[in-house]
């Protein structure tokens, strides 16, 4: 990541020094020790207080754990369901059933790939209308059969393609919002990486919102915001601060309920730690919601949404 470049440079230098023969260069040991100390110091300051823009970069890190990783690490008996029963199957959205510590749930998630081939098939995690319609179908299934919904957010946004407009991208998202607002089962959302606008929101609100420390959730991408405001995408650092898109921002705005800590430098540095954190937060959320009368959930969820927004004169 860009903000890690000074650290990367020092580490490269350290590695090259270590290749040299100490016996030939008497000062080498001291130089290495100095470099190591400098690296440790930089490590401390670099990650001590990450800027929103740095967090956005961490959220997008290619090695960051993805929906598939959570499925594998947290769940057993995963069954994927496919298709919208209308047009196609969109691999950028996972939909299925899975068991979390004995609890049977319906799972949704944006699905980025681990490599280019996978990413092409999954459209880099940006859903087509078919993906949203598949998600909507799972919501109705979960509703009918009383399965809580767990949804993992990790998308740059709904895909802004020509065919997507042709096939009603906007309507597909709206239908998801309608379905998700009315299901009579608990809905727990986990922001694990990118939370890009309407494409995230379509499967991204419910009774609880858990955010990973470096996940973001935003009305617009910082780059596009910068392009609109300043005709300069490079001012994304500035707009990402203004947009208040970090996990902490969301807690402060009353939108997120819990933040799962990440290891220094991001979830990819120690995925197991993050899996543990998500497992704990998710189980707690599901447990607390399991006590609620399901018939009241849509009303409670509506009240939750109803409070969102700041107005004067009302």
């Amino acid at each position: 990541m860009e903000f890690e470049r000074p650290l990367d440079e020092l580490e490269d230098k350290l590695a090259s020094l270590k290749h040299l023969d100490v016996s030939e260069q008497p000062d080498l040991a001291a130089e290495i020790a100095g470099l190591e100390a400098e690296i440790a110091r930089l490590h401390e300051t670099l990650y001590a207080e990450l800027t929103p823009w740095e967090r956005v970069q961490i959220a997008r890190h290619p090695e960051r754990p993805k929906t598939d990783d959570y499925l594998q690490a947290l769940f057993t008996d995963v069954v994927e369901v496919h298709g919208d029963r209308l047009f196609g199957d969109d691999e950028s959205v996972f939909a299925g059933f899975a068991t979390l510590q004995g609890r049977k749930v319906a799972v949704l998630g944006h699905r980025k790939g681990k490599n280019t081939t996978e990413n092409v098939r999954r459209n880099f995690g940006s859903p087509h209308p078919e993906g949203f319609r598949k998600a909507e179908r799972l919501m109705h299934l979960a509703d009918r059969f009383g399965m809580p919904i767990v949804s993992f957010l990790d998308t740059a946004g709904a895909y802004p393609g020509l065919d997507d407009e042709d096939r009603g991208q906007a309507l597909a998202i709206a239908d998801c919002l309608a379905a998700l607002s009315s299901v009579r089962v608990p809905v727990v959302v986990v922001g694990i990486g990118e939370g890009g606008s309407g494409g995230a929101l379509a499967i991204g609100f419910g009774d609880r919102l858990i955010m990973l420390e470096n996940a973001y959730y935003s009305v617009i991408s910082p780059e596009m915001c910068a392009t609109i405001l300043h005709k300069d995408a490079r001012r994304a650092s500035e707009t990402s601060a203004c947009l208040q898109l970090t996990a902490d921002d969301l807690v402060r705005l009353g939108l997120a309920d819990a933040v799962v800590a990440e290891p220094r430098g991001g979830a990819h540095r120690d995925p197991e730690m993050v899996f543990d954190g998500v497992r704990t937060a998710l189980s707690a959320a599901l447990e607390s919601l399991s006590a609620v009368d399901r018939a009241t959930l849509p009303d409670t969820r509506y009240e939750r949404l109803r409070r969102i927004g700041e107005v004067a004169g009302g």
């Binding site: 709904a158 906007a170 709206a174 309407g198 935003s218 609109i228 927004g309 004169g313």
Partner: protein, 309 residues
């Protein structure tokens, strides 16, 4: 420029907005001068006066003629954008409008300062349009049928949906539900209002949830999509209507055409994201000429409330 023209209007304070009969907006305007009825204006080559140039056919028209046609060009049929008061005047039975939630005003919850200062932007929009926010809502009758109505005004920060727009839309749904009265919303919007960040995005979920409750209660909801209706508004309450009407030639979609063009890396087909394009792709029920809109909405209301008789 359209905004220049409209800023020449008296800017009533909130109470005046509440009390001014909508029909007066049209009357009042006739006493003033206008330039061109389009947003992308080229006024320099036109006399500052009652003559305007239609951006559709490039002809020069007398403003009085254009107004009699409800701002539809008599030559090429182009539907020029309307302000919320103009829209209310042409859609509702005269004198029937009773505004609600007029006092709701946007605040600046994020203290958003990148680019223009948001709070100043809002104040300027209020000043320029004479409106409290980008949507006006209330009770009215349309061809004798009672309805809750909401009309968006693109001049107000692109009628983007922030907390206030979301709140007023949600309250309109709730009012329609409480009074079991059909809801008619006329949309125009650039999408979510980014200056309110996630609070804006969540208005999509909030309004969609409110729409879902109205639908579950079996109360009719008609949407009139006008130019332009994009992004988070199209992707939430604006497409959840029982009947979706669009005005001819309106731009309606999710992603902006420039973004789509960048994504596919070729030029867009003619008519992409137009009302007619959406009709062809099965996304809307009908494209209705503005001059027939009131009658059509009234007729639809008579059908959708037939079961209540």
């Amino acid at each position: 420029m359209r905004s220049a023209r409209l800023s020449e209007r008296p800017t009533p304070d909130d109470h005046e907005t509440d009390s001014m009969p909508i029909s007066d907006w049209f009357k009042a305007r006739e006493q003033r001068n206008y330039t061109t009825p389009t947003e992308a204006a080229t006024t320099s080559d036109l006399p500052d006066g009652v003559w305007v140039r239609c951006e559709g056919c490039k002809r020069t028209l007398y403003m009085g003629d254009l107004e009699r046609e409800l701002m539809v060009c008599p030559t090429c049929g182009r539907h020029h954008d309307l302000s919320a008061p103009e829209r209310l005047a042409m859609l509702l039975d005269e004198g029937s409008f009773e505004e609600v939630d007029a006092h709701l005003r946007s605040v600046d919850p994020l203290q958003f300062t990148s680019g223009k200062v948001y709070s100043e932007q809002v104040a300027a929009a209020v000043q320029r349009t004479g409106l409290g926010e980008a949507i006006v809502t209330g009770r009215a009758t349309i061809g004798g049928h009672r309805a809750i109505v909401g009309v968006m005004d693109f001049r107000f920060i692109g009628a983007s949906m922030g907390s206030v727009v979301g709140e007023k839309v949600t309250r309109a749904f709730e009012l329609a539900l409480a009074e079991r009265t059909p809801l008619v919303l006329v949309t125009a919007s650039g999408g979510a209002r980014m200056q309110e960040g996630m609070l804006s995005l969540m208005q999509m979920a909030k309004t969609a949830a409110a729409a879902t409750r109205l639908a579950a209660a079996g109360v009719p909801y008609i949407v009139v999509l006008t130019n332009p209706t994009m992004g988070g508004v199209t992707a939430s309450f604006a497409t959840l209507g029982d009947v979706l009407i669009a005005e001819p030639g309106a731009l309606i979609g999710f992603a902006g055409p420039r973004l789509v063009e960048q994504t596919i890396r070729k030029s867009l087909p003619k008519g992409f994201q137009s009302s007619e394009f959406l009709l062809e792709h099965g996304m809307i029920d009908m494209v209705v000429d503005r001059r027939e809109l009131k009658d059509r909405v009234a007729l639809l209301l008579s059908y959708l409330t037939a079961g209540d008789e």
